[in-house]
């Protein structure tokens, strides 16, 4: 770059040439690197110019956020007042209004338990983890009641956001351990365990979730002794969990197979037995590799919870469909579905971002 010379061993660290760094270089390299790329960039900017201002006006400038009836809504703007009007329905479903504090409490405790599991800098994490372990029981008790003086609330009254969270959290919490067991079982040397796991995984993967939900809602009663009542939501939870665990098992099997054989050999040669080797050496690494796939399955499960509409349970999407048909608030399907979409997007995007954070945190620089 210059005529300057340095004696051997004294060459300083020079900064990179100025034309290869900075925002102007970034624009050049990414948006205008070739004629085609420049045209695509300009077209994209034009399309954004067409779409964004009107969407912005509709959603913010001309929109009505406060109002009692359809007539309060200004024409040409989003009628978000309707969402506010129905907000409690979207969140609690048909849960009795005077008992909604139980849902709120369960949600707050869920945040606490979730933080203990997901955030490793949580104060007193050890104790909080114990709490997180029993949280599913506490949550189920708070929501459904019927024990220790809490009034029983039938699960047919569950709906909206709380129903999605109930299905999603239960599915996520139970499908992961079940999936791990199935993945390990599939690699077992014992033929009975191995073929049971293979059979289970292939059966569940081969059947649509909707079919399993119908089985849960109708056919299960044929198999159970007459007179037994078996809560519908509980059946759904079991089916959703089994469904997700089969996918989970295959994702984790991929992670197990990606590990070099030497890891298990090293663990064995040190005298670790099977369960120690799995728990301390193999699974921590295999699960780390599988994080993208695991979170992918979680997101799929979470969104699949909308399918419960086919057996008469109303999640936010179901509530939305019912609301759209309300004759007092006609023509608001855009607003309603937008709201539902935003709700699901926030949850799923949150999971995706957490998975990236976790991958970075667990990266100990051993990639080759």
């Amino acid at each position: 770059m210059t005529e300057q010379t340095y004696a051997p061993g004294t060459y300083p660290d020079l900064p990179p040439p100025s034309e290869t760094v900075g925002p102007v270089h970034w624009l050049k390299a990414n948006l205008f690197s070739s004629p085609v790329n420049s045209i695509v960039t300009l077209v994209a900017i034009y399309l954004l110019y067409l779409a964004l201002p009107s969407a912005f006006n509709w959603l913010l400038i001309d929109a009505t956020y406060v109002g009692e009836t359809r007539k309060d809504c200004a024409p040409g703007g989003a009628c978000m007042a309707f969402i506010g009007e129905r907000f409690n329905l979207f969140v609690y479903g048909f849960y009795p209004a005077e008992l909604r504090w139980r849902v709120n409490l369960a949600a707050i405790l869920l945040v606490v338990a979730g933080a203990a599991v997901l955030w490793d800098k949580m104060p007193a994490r050890k104790h909080m983890m114990k709490f997180a372990m029993i949280y599913p029981l506490i949550g189920a008790w708070l929501l459904s009641g019927g024990l220790f003086g809490l009034e029983y609330v039938g699960t047919h009254l569950f709906g909206g956001l709380m129903l999605t969270l109930t299905i999603g959290v239960t599915g996520i919490v139970f499908s992961l351990p079940l999936g791990i067991l199935l993945a390990l079982g599939r690699q077992s040397k014992l033929p009975i365990i191995k073929y049971f796991c293979i059979g289970f995984i292939e059966f569940i993967r081969g059947v649509p979730l909707i079919t399993l939900l119908f089985v849960a809602s109708t056919m299960l009663s044929y198999f159970l002794p007459p007179g037994t009542t078996f809560d519908l939501l509980l059946r759904v939870l079991i089916m959703v969990t089994l469904f997700a665990s089969a996918y989970m098992a295959e994702v984790i099997r991929g992670g197990l197979q990606a590990l070099p054989k030497g890891q298990l050999e090293a663990a064995n040669s040190l005298g670790l037995n099977y369960s120690q080797a799995m728990r301390l050496i193999i699974l921590p690494q295999a699960l780390k590799i599988s994080i993208p796939g695991i979170v992918n399955t979680f997101i799929g499960l979470y969104k699949d919870s909308t399918l419960v509409i086919v057996i008469g349970l109303l999640d936010p999407l179901g509530i939305g469909r019912a609301s759209v048909a309300d004759s007092a608030w006609l023509g608001l399907s855009t607003e309603v579905y937008l709201f539902v979409a935003v709700f699901f997007f926030i949850s799923c995007f949150g999971m995706a971002r957490y998975s990236l954070y976790l991958e970075n945190k667990l990266n100990t620089g051993h990639k080759r």
């Binding site: 070099p260 030497g262 890891q263 050999e265 090293a266 663990a267 064995n268 040669s269 040190l270 005298g271 670790l272 037995n273 120690q276 301390l280 050496i281 921590p284 690494q285 780390k288 667990l362 100990t364 620089g365 051993h366 990639k367």
Partner: protein
């Protein structure tokens, strides 16, 4: 040297009798007979595919043998998981590709087995681990992850990790084959100092300098058989079999 050997204790550490092993139809180990006395250093060499790694991997049952007996420290290796675990506790192994646990720090790699297998208290296990890390001259790396170390350093950690279990026998499976030339010496130095302390060692290696320096016996294997077994002096200067001569001429030829 053979006299010194016969004068020393003849307590058997490893006995392999008429051992055969197949991979499917492929007869990979043929009628192996080997006795190793306590404190003996044995170097095993031979062309690739000759079964040397497979043989030492049978000693801690990373490979199963189908015929014959293997007795390690008085424990016979069968399908009994208890016996296998007992043998593995007393036999350390160092691999060609180190096989350190990448998700644990160097120190955790070293303390894991003592804590979980030997039930050593954590503080004591860590003190022992630091002692051995000092022996292999990398105590300052204790809190790094294996991925941050050079190959030679990783292999020395692997040696320390095995030693933390205080094994009676150490198996080395081509410990320097995956290393850059400038790192081989640091690992060999560690192994030499270990040999001088009197631990029983079986080492699969092509480092003939190491064999000359520390081995009590050099074993040559080819096509699944032990062809020749002799003290290093006679092995290198006066090989008995043509195949041994050919092998030696190939690896010492340049």
């Amino acid at each position: 040297m053979s006299e010194a050997q016969s004068n020393s204790t003849t307590e058997k550490c490893i006995e392999i009798r008429n051992m055969n092993k197949w991979y499917g139809d492929f007869h990979v180990l043929k009628n192996i007979n080997l006795e190793v006395c306590k404190g003996e250093k044995i170097v095993i060499c031979g062309p690739s595919g000759s079964g040397k790694s497979t043989m030492i991997r049978c000693i801690n049952r990373l490979e199963e043998h189908q015929q014959g007996d293997i007795i390690v420290d008085g424990t016979e290796l069968t399908n009994d998981l208890k016996n296998i675990d007992a043998v593995r506790r007393e036999v350390g192994m160092v691999f060609q590709h180190f096989n350190l646990f990448p998700h644990l720090t160097v120190l955790e790699n070293c303390t894991l087995a003592p804590i979980w297998v030997r039930k050593t208290p954590k503080a004591e296990a860590e003190a022992t681990a630091m002692e051995f890390l000092e022996r292999v001259k990398i105590p300052e790396q204790a809190n790094k992850y294996p991925g941050q170390l050079s190959g030679g350093q990783q292999q020395r950690v692997a040696i320390a990790r095995s030693l933390c279990m205080r094994p009676n026998i150490m198996l080395f499976d081509e410990p320097t084959s995956a290393l850059d030339p400038e790192m081989i010496k640091e690992v060999l130095d560690t192994m030499v100092s270990l040999a001088e302390e009197g631990i029983t060692m079986l080492c699969v290696t092509h480092e003939m300098g190491f064999a000359k320096k520390v081995a009590d016996r050099v074993i040559f294997m080819d096509q699944g058989e032990i062809i020749e077994s002799n003290n290093p002096h006679d092995f290198f200067d006066n090989p008995q079999h043509d195949r041994t001569k050919l092998f030696l001429s190939q690896i010492l030829g340049h």
